[in-house]
Amino acid sequence: MSKELLKICNFSKTFGDLAVLKDISFSVKEGEVVSIIGPSGSGKTTLLRCAALLESVEKGDLSYGDLQVCVQGVYAGKNVLKDAKNRFGFVFQNFHLFPHYNVMENVTKAPLLVQKRDKKEVEEMARQLLKKMGLSGKENSYPCELSGGQQQRVAIARALAMKPGILFFDEPTSALDPELTQEILKVIRDLAEEKMTMVIVTHEINFARNVSDRIIFMADGYIVEEGEASSLVDHPQNERTKEFLAFISQKG
């Protein structure tokens, strides 16, 4: 039995009068790849942001392994939150690289300043990561000199440099052209092969079907259906899921 890296129980979240997450529960085991799909506005981003502590929930529990981050809507102290942030990485739809740092600095600043790791070790690791991302030779470039796909790969390297147990992706390809999209999807596929634990919000249903172990379908703030990736896509049980998948495949 591999261990549970992330556990979310009964998450509820509202923005003003709008209930965005309603009683959401799921967990992610080590080495698992979970995709979250669903119509626009269903709360996928919000769920990921709550898991990544970018938003807080009103109700529910959140834990990273043995680390209890939130119990019934009450968050743990600063130190626990800081620890928790070392356990996950987050890749944003719009990259959010630091424009005043070059590629190398983007990747190494957090390991150096936050994790206080050895400079030599961090730089060596950063070079390896950039090589893996196909970015060798770009160490001294600035984000504004890179294509969208390259920027997103730097963002992935930046997240991986922290050695997170789990990596969150919020529509990592939505800001990219189809060609560049393939570039990023390949990187994620490679990570999946290395058994990197990932939670991916995506509109690329085929990709989700092929790369993930499990797919979660969300609508109106609920988890409507959840199951093994290919069976959920090929044989959805719920009417909402069927409707959504039909709509997506029709769109192309």
Binding site: L53, L54, K85, F92, H96, F98, L113, V114, Y142, M162
Partner: protein, 216 residues
């Protein structure tokens, strides 16, 4: 009066103007950041205090503020006016005034940084202080250079307002020489000096802007 001694008097005045200029920047630039923080405070009492401060500093003439700074201690607290306080009063008034303008420039610079920068830094575990000084502030500096340049250039010319407290800066000197010798020349010369001073300032700021041009 021969030209040589006229120029040497004016240059002495210019030195005082330069002194006012640099001392004002030295105090106003950092003070402006503190005021900007106060203005952006989540505590709305604090935010409003700074809002009113900025509004008064921007809404009343600098010359009036100079006079209040110099005579205020006497009229309010009966502290005897020392002539040596003149220069200090000028620096205090200029710094307080310019800090208010800088604060608003910084504030718009800080608020213009996309929320994504804070979020990216946050998920990487940067503390709020690290986030501000490593991620946000360097980007703010780049953004505020053009508006700050405007203020700095205005400051060069505003140093002449110190004449209202009879501080011997260049404009005061020029006026004295002109009325004593009934000649326009000191004004013309002072004008040229101000212009050259500003030219150098603008040149320096442009260089700084170029140096930060390596990223967008």
């Amino acid at each position: 009066m021969d030209y040589a001694s006229m120029f040497s008097e004016l240059l002495k005045g210019l030195l005082v103007s330069v002194e006012i200029f640099f001392l004002t920047l030295l105090f106003a630039l950092p003070l402006g950041l503190l005021i900007a923080f106060g203005r952006m405070s989540k505590n709305c009492i604090v935010a409003n205090i700074f809002r009113v401060y900025i509004s008064i500093m921007r809404g009343t003439p600098l010359m009036l503020q100079l006079l209040v700074c110099f005579f205020g201690p006497y009229y309010l607290f009966k502290i005897p006016l020392a002539s040596s306080y003149r220069f200090a009063a000028v620096i205090i008034a200029f710094s307080l005034n310019y800090a208010a303008y800088c604060a608003e420039i910084y504030r718009s610079g800080i608020q213009g940084i996309p929320a994504g920068q804070y979020e990216a830094a946050g998920v990487l575990g940067f503390t709020p202080v690290q986030t501000f000084f490593r991620i946000i502030f360097p980007q703010v500096v780049k953004r505020v250079i053009p508006p700050v340049t405007n203020e700095v250039i205005t400051l060069v010319k505003d140093t002449s307002l110190a004449f209202s407290l009879s501080v011997m800066e260049m404009f005061t000197m020029a006026k004295q020489i002109a009325s004593a010798h009934t000649t326009m020349i000191p004004f013309v010369a002072a004008g040229v000096f101000y212009y050259v001073f500003n030219f150098l300032v603008a040149f320096g700021m442009e260089r700084l802007e170029k140096r930060l041009d390596y990223y967008r």
